[in-house]
Assembly symmetry: C2
Homo-oligomer: 326 residues x 2
């Protein structure tokens, strides 16, 4: 089952409805659930109950994609981004002159918390962020958690994952590079936009795509202005999403409404090519560029880079400390 | 004005009330606001309106600290932790064999997003996290954002900050050290507990403590088992909280209910002493240790380290990639 969040162009800007997505291409229709339906709640209920509500939605008329604005399927209560694709880590490390992933990468998965309020809809324009000449994308697959988990086994984690979507973790590489000198990871380099969508495909629907270890194995690709620039498979992740949720939940809450992302797949970011090529080839994204990401059995997100917004003035450099003893 | 979140020990575990804190020491009382009062909303309203509601609360009987369980004053909708104390960065860098803060530290403030669901109450026990032999604390001051800001000036930011509290960003240094080899910052090393409290002191109440540049200048100290191990002043931050909020809001949302923290002050973490001393002196925290943090004009948080909880089994090492071409 595919579930989308949407509003009609004539609705209030903060209106939000959930729809059942049926059909493909020009036959695709979004069939609204009852007003008040919540996407995370629908995913957290039993399949039987969800199906019965979906039957009601399907019986009524659907809307074409021209008749709706698709919204981020979830406004996350927290968002973790992992680093699970060995070949991506290998490419980035070689770009820094290292021989490959450090031993620590293999031991257990790492993640960072992301800007939860930066999520944007699957077809939304993305404004060029300030202070960057190196705008990049990151092709990822993301899981939507629909039940609270703490110290959950892999089996608990499986029951807590409601579905999956495509994610573009937009990144300002030059800003991020300066910030990461402080060892805490990126700050403003990644807090301006994260595209998720186009909808959530329920976990049960993707079971046929699991490999012998239970890893989802879906083809992933990204194009810029219609030209494919990256391709990989989600089966190349070092850990399954169930393992990632279990790991995140060790002595910590993973709550309903959280999003956990795979990290960038191999060739899923321009920066990986820049490291490999020793030059900005392909070039950083420019205003007007269209980035399109597709994951097999999930769907496609498409976003145009548009002009910078008017931003706040930068803050001054640090005030040097004056050593007045406490 | 001091505002605390609390429940009575006999209330449901998820009960949550807001109280006006009056008096000091044994005369301290928590005067409940009407049921349904929300701490972030109270802080977001005008001072006149807040005072009028506080007058009603103050007229009724108050509860002693023995009669309440103080809760985290806010369950953050997102949480940023900055790195604003030059002397702390200097100490940590020297511990890594570097000559001092990199030039990038001075240019603009960096931050990471924290685990928002890890916040715990001001007097709560903290369970020893798994996989660590190097539990540490971090003494910080935190601001509570009570109005949404995007591209806000320093003046906008000032209107958006409702108040301040003490924060202990508990850290498992060995876990964090392994994770930070991957350059994304800490993951499991910092997602298990963040103590905030004991209450929020409204921003207006701290105005007398602003220095000539408008920076809050409050004495900060931390003790372990009654012995002072760290002291600094918030006036040693490289940027004011208003500058931090403005910076965070550039091309990004900072929303009501967010918490922004200063980062560790100088001598506000054992790890800084470990770097300076070249040895684990003072020793890492052990079960039974009591960590107490005080910030002038705000208050004190006190937490005991207790036994580990039963955690989920660790996940296996990464599955090595099998190069099936996409």
């Amino acid at each position: 089952m595919r579930l989308a969040a949407f509003r009609r162009p004539t609705d209030e800007p903060d209106a939000r409805f959930v729809g059942l997505v049926l059909g493909q291409g020009e036959h695709l229709r979004v069939h609204p659930f009852d007003a008040g339906a919540d996407l995370v709640e629908l995913l957290g209920e039993s399949a039987e109950w969800r199906e019965s509500r979906a039957d009601v939605a399907a019986a009524a008329d659907g809307l074409t994609l021209d008749e709706v604005v698709l919204l981020p399927p979830v406004y996350p209560v927290a968002m973790r981004d992992f680093l699970t694709f060995e070949a991506h880590v290998d490419g980035m490390e070689r770009g820094h002159g290292n021989p490959g992933p450090p031993a620590e990468w293999y031991e257990s998965p790492v993640f960072l918390f992301m800007a939860p309020h930066a999520v944007t809809g699957p077809y939304d324009d993305v404004a060029m962020p300030p202070d960057t000449e190196r705008l990049d994308f990151e092709l990822e697959i993301a899981a939507i958690v629909v039940r609270d988990v703490r110290n959950g086994s892999v089996e608990d984690a499986r029951a807590a994952i409601g579905g999956y979507c495509v994610m573009n973790d937009w990144s300002a590489r030059d800003v991020q590079g300066r910030e990461m000198r402080l060892k805490l990871g990126p700050s403003k380099g990644k807090d301006f936009a994260t595209t998720i969508g186009p909808w959530v495909v329920t976990a049960d629907e993707l079971d046929p795509y699991r490999d012998e270890d239970g890893f989802l194995d879906l083809a992933m690709s990204v194009s810029v202005n219609g030209r494919t620039v990256g391709e990989d498979r989600s089966g190349h992740m070092g850990w399954s999403f169930e393992q990632l949720v279990s790991h995140a939940s060790r002595a910590s809450w993973v709550k309903a409404g959280e999003v956990l992302a795979s990290g960038t797949c191999a060739s899923g970011a321009l920066a990986e090519a820049w490291g490999r090529n020793g030059a900005l080839v392909p070039p950083p994204l420019q205003v007007g560029d269209v980035v399109e990401m597709t994951i097999e059995a999930i769907g496609t997100i498409t976003n145009r880079v548009v002009e910078r917004e008017v931003v706040a003035a930068p803050v001054p450099p640090a005030r040097r400390r004056t050593r007045v003893e406490a």
